[in-house]
C-alpha cells in the first residue's frame, strides 16, 4: 500500500518544509518529483491580488485523496503527498504542493503530472480570482480538459 498524505490548508503552505519532510521520509526510494504552484500576480496582463478557494469540508479532502490513490495505483508509487491551500491565497503565495517518491524516475514524474491535471478539474474546490479590475470565478478551460484527456489514452 502506498503511503498517501493529503492536507487541505486554510492558512499557510510551506513547500520548502513539505519538500524537506517528504525527502527525509522517502528520499531513500531513489526518485522524488515535486511540483509547487504559486499564485501569479498577473493573469493575461490583468493584476491579481489574491485567489479565494472555496471548499466543502470533508468532501474536498476526500476528492484529493481519491486522486492520490488512483495515481499511486496507476503509476506504482510508494509515497505521495498533496498539500492544497483553501480560503484566501495572496499573489506570490504557494497554492499547491504535490510530490511523489518511487524507485522509478518516470513513474514519479508521471504521478505528479497526473495529479496536477486532475486537481485542476476534479478536486472539490472553487477558485475565484480577485484584483483591482477583476472578481470572477475560474472554471476549467479547454486546455484543462485537454490536459486531463491525455491520461485516458491507452
Amino acid at each position: 500500500m502506498a503511503d498517501i498524505d493529503v492536507k487541505l490548508l486554510p492558512e499557510t503552505l510551506d513547500p520548502v518544509q513539505e519538500h524537506a519532510a517528504f525527502l527525509a521520509c522517502f528520499g531513500h526510494l531513489g526518485a522524488v518529483t515535486a511540483f509547487t504552484g504559486v499564485v501569479r500576480a498577473a493573469a493575461k496582463d490583468v493584476i491579481v491580488d489574491y485567489l479565494y478557494l472555496d471548499w466543502y469540508p470533508g468532501m474536498t479532502e476526500a476528492s484529493m485523496h481519491a486522486i492520490a490513490e488512483t495515481a499511486a495505483e496507476r503509476f506504482e508509487i510508494a509515497a505521495l503527498v498533496i498539500r492544497h491551500r483553501c480560503a484566501k491565497v495572496k499573489a506570490g503565495q504557494p497554492v499547491v504542493f504535490v510530490a511523489a517518491a518511487s524507485s522509478h524516475r518516470r513513474a514519479a514524474f508521471e504521478a505528479v503530472d497526473y495529479m496536477m491535471d486532475r486537481l485542476k478539474s476534479e478536486a472539490a474546490l472553487w477558485k475565484r480570482e480577485v484584483g483591482p479590475d477583476i472578481d470572477h470565478w475560474i472554471e476549467p478551460t479547454g486546455k484543462d480538459a485537454e490536459d486531463l484527456q491525455r491520461w485516458s489514452k491507452p
Binding site: W55, H84, L119, W126
Partner: protein, 76 residues
C-alpha cells in the same frame, strides 16, 4: 431536516452558504429541492451532491441528508 449547502458561484448567486429544510409529509426529491431553492434550471453547470457523493439524477431525500449545490470544480 435536510442540510443544504452552497459553494462557489452558486453560493454567491444565492447570497447564502447554508440553509435547513424540513422534509414535508409528501417527501422531497433532490430536483424538487433544487427548484424550491430557486437554483436556476437553465444553468446546466450546477452540480449536486447528497451526503458528499455527487449525484446527477433525481432521488428521494431523507431526514438528516446533507445536500449540496455548486458550480464546477477549479483547483490546482
Amino acid at each position: 431536516m435536510i442540510d443544504a449547502l452552497f459553494f462557489g458561484r452558486v453560493a454567491e448567486a444565492l447570497g447564502q452558504r447554508r440553509t435547513q429544510i424540513d422534509v414535508p409529509a409528501e417527501g422531497l426529491s433532490l430536483l424538487s429541492l433544487r427548484a424550491r431553492l430557486f437554483i436556476g434550471d437553465d444553468d446546466s453547470k450546477v452540480l449536486m451532491s447528497v451526503n458528499q457523493v455527487i449525484q446527477s439524477g433525481d432521488q428521494a431525500l431523507h431526514d438528516g441528508d446533507e445536500v449540496a449545490f455548486f458550480s464546477v470544480f477549479s483547483g490546482g
